[in-house]
Structures are given as structure tokens and as C-alpha cells.
Symmetry: C2
Subunit: 251 residues, 2 copies
């Protein structure tokens, strides 16, 4: 191999966009993610993050010796115009690896990041998703509901009529397709949501409430709606996942 060839090969190194999960709760990163993630967090110099302050704090918790001021951060959150995203990957044009970090949990799943991944895919870069905590996946595992087919819907509609229609469609998909239905709610509306589920759906429908996943007050409780109608969890400001399913035969 000539020197010219060797240089060309180096220039053609395909950079990697890492998807680096962050902690869901205030726990040491190493308790909820593999050591490999910490090692990658140490080596990457350019980040696309949902929130610069939390990303810097997370990286410091991964390794207190990281020189945060030597790193670059581009902000990609729900307010970022799509047109600004391609330019965020400029360091990759020079062959540098980058990483996406969201506010909590896995980037691009119920969190920003997917648009940056789409740009990386279009440009033919490697995309490497790292293992980490996903409240949706952990809640599904612990619910006891059907994990052979399931759907995540994000937030339920706020409008009462539209919300009722959405819940009725979920009920149909549970019964006809045996598809577990997963959704979230703004924390301060959690109790109101449970009340509206009890009003709208049959009492034998099963509801799993998964709160503070991986945190010190983690609770994942599956009971029929008839139980939830008269019992309550204190869920004032805790991130919570809701799952619906029924074992009742299709009607």
C-alpha cells in the first residue's frame, strides 16, 4: 500500500453517530448503563443534546475528569427548526464521531434526536445505538402485558372528546389485535388521567402504572381499573408510564 492510498483510506473512515442514553432518575450512570457507554462518553468531542446543562452534568457524572469546556454542544429540542439540524452534523464531515444525548433515557424514543439520526442515515454514516434505560421498555417488561405486540402513543390528546375517541380506538386494538397500549401524561395530570380511564373504559381492563422507573421510589403496579377507581398512588410530580391491556376474550 502506498502512502497516498493509506491517506485516502483514512479520509474515507466512516464516522459514527452514537445514541448515548442518559439516566432517568438521579442515580450513578454506571448503575443503569454498560461500562462501554462511559468509555464512549469519554472519547466523543462533539454532542447534539436536548439540554446543554443536563448533558454537561450527565457527562461529568460519567467521568468527573472529562474536560467539559473542550467539548462542543448543539441543542436539538422540540423547538429546533428542522432546517437547522443538518448543519449540526458538520463535525462528521471531517470524520469526527458524534453523540446524541437527550434529557432523560434513550435519544430519539419519546425524546428528540430522530431528525439528527435521519440526516446521518441519509449521509451513509454509521449509527450506533447504545444500551440504556428506556422507561417505555422497562414498564412494558414489568407490566405482565403482551410483549409480542405493543404500541406507544406518546401523550393522549388533551381535548376530552378526542381523548375519549383515542381511548376507544386503543380498546379496539387491545381486543382485536391483542396489542398492549402504552402512553404518557404530563406528571401533574397523572391522577386526573387515571380517573378519566376509569370513566371511559370497562372495569375489567387492566392498567399498569409505572412511576419513577430506575429511581428510588420505583413502583410498577398492574391492577384492573375497578381497583384503580378506589385506590390511588401518590404520583404528584413523578414521570409515569401508563399501559393498558386485557386478558378478557375478544367480544
Amino acid at each position: 500500500m502506498t502512502d497516498a492510498n493509506r491517506t485516502e483510506t483514512q479520509e474515507q473512515r466512516i464516522p459514527t453517530l452514537y445514541l448515548l442514553p442518559s439516566t432517568l432518575a438521579d442515580v450513578p450512570p454506571a448503575s443503569v448503563m454498560p461500562q462501554r457507554n462511559i468509555e464512549i462518553a469519554r472519547t466523543v468531542r462533539h454532542f447534539i443534546v436536548e439540554n446543554v446543562r443536563t448533558a454537561r452534568r450527565f457527562l461529568k457524572r460519567c467521568d468527573p475528569t472529562i474536560d467539559i469546556d473542550a467539548l462542543t454542544f448543539a441543542t436539538l429540542d422540540e423547538h429546533t427548526p428542522a432546517s437547522e439540524i443538518p448543519a449540526m452534523l458538520t463535525p462528521m464531515e471531517r470524520g469526527a464521531d458524534m453523540a446524541v444525548i437527550s434529557e432523560a433515557g434513550c435519544p430519539a424514543v419519546a425524546d428528540p434526536g430522530a431528525e439528527a439520526v435521519a440526516v446521518a442515515q441519509r449521509r451513509g454514516y454509521r449509527v450506533d445505538p447504545l444500551v440504556g434505560p428506556s422507561s417505555i421498555l422497562l414498564a412494558l417488561m414489568a407490566s405482565g402485558f403482551n410483549g409480542q405486540t405493543f404500541a406507544f402513543a406518546g401523550y393522549l390528546p388533551v381535548d376530552p372528546q378526542w381523548r375519549t375517541a383515542t381511548l376507544r380506538e386503543m380498546q379496539r386494538r387491545i381486543i382485536r389485535e391483542h396489542q398492549t397500549q402504552i402512553f404518557i401524561e404530563t406528571p401533574y395530570r397523572n391522577s386526573k388521567l387515571i380517573a378519566s380511564l376509569c370513566q371511559t373504559l370497562p372495569r375489567e381492563m387492566m392498567l399498569c402504572v409505572a412511576a419513577d422507573i430506575t429511581g428510588p421510589s420505583q413502583r410498577i403496579i398492574t391492577r384492573p381499573l375497578s381497583w384503580w377507581a378506589t385506590n390511588s398512588l401518590e404520583l404528584p410530580r413523578i414521570p409515569t408510564i401508563f399501559l393498558l391491556y386485557t386478558d378478557a376474550p375478544a367480544r
Copy 2:
């Protein structure tokens, strides 16, 4: 507190059913899961597993000093009658913690285990889902597709007419609900599946093929079906996840 009271409190300790993910590929467990999982694998004595041989091998890789012959294993796979599952949790009646391990990845998600979790939930035991590799979640993260709403359908129907109808319904949910559609195929049918997607769906539909996730030949590639129609990946016997989405406006 009297001795009698103290004994009663010990008897009332609520046991935990851990959901312990295993590796997807032939890699060291610590490279794809937190150290906490290894510590729990070391302490649990009673397991519910999809395959005893693979579970024993996985535990040995977690810690070669584990005395495998001192452990108990109950088999819960797709052939296990539902009526046999409650008795598998007998050690928990004596206050012992247990763990569920599936063949690869996260128990109870596209793998057996959910029925054992449902029994634990009904009995009021703690259920603790541990962080680990899920090929579905990792593929979704790396696809660049919508992670705000998505559905996993398991295997597509084998019958050609039913398969076409299923793909058309997926297309409707992508366009109307912007819901990413995720499914799997028996490895030896992977190439045939891609051909049938190209025949059934519009050429501008995007397909992500995610093969050998976390393994040495990991490839996660998102391209339009028009590209997949004339290009192929060699995917002879590799576990693969398929994802469909489109950025084309609703019609």
C-alpha cells in the same frame, strides 16, 4: 420491637421478580448491561428461563465463579401450558427473589416471560425490570424514524393475502398516525421479506433494516424501498428487525 414482631416483619418481606436481560450477540455481558445486573445474577438462586442451557451459559459468562448446580431453573417457553406458570413462582412464597431470563434480549418483550410477570403482579410481588439490550428499541433509536409513536407487530403473517392486508394497514397507520411500524421475520426469510415489501408498498416508503444488533456485524441501514429493490444486504441467518416509515405528507 419484640422478637415475635421482628420475625413477622421478616416473613412479610416482599420478594422481587427481576427481569434479567441476556446478551443478543456473542459478546461479554458487561459490554451491553450495567454492573448491577451482574450483581443481581450472582445473588438470585431461582430462575424462570426460556432455555436452561443458554441461561446457564449466560450466568457463567456473568460470573464464572457462580455455582450453577446450586441454582433452580424452571422452563417457560412458547410451549409451556399457562396452567403450569403459577407454580414456577413457589420459591417467592417463601420470600425468595427470582429472575426471568429469556433466550436473547429483554424477557417478556418479543420473548416469553410476561405470564410469569402477570402472576407476580397479581400476587403483589415487586417486579424489577433491569436495563439491557432490546433489539427492537435499539433499532428504533437508530432508524431515524418517528420515536414519538410506534408499534411492534411481531412476525408478519405468512399467508400472502393476509401479509399484504397487514402491510396495507401498516401503511395507513404510518400515513394517518405517523406511527413507525416495527416487525421481525424468521432469519432465513429475510431476503424474501424485503422483496415482498418492495412489491406491496410505495417506492418512497422508507425501510430500516437492523441486523446483528450489538454484534460484530451490526448494520442498521435506512433507505427508501426504491433503493432496497436494487440493493441487497447479505442477511442469511442473522436476527434482523425491520422498520417502516415515511416522511411523505399524508394523502
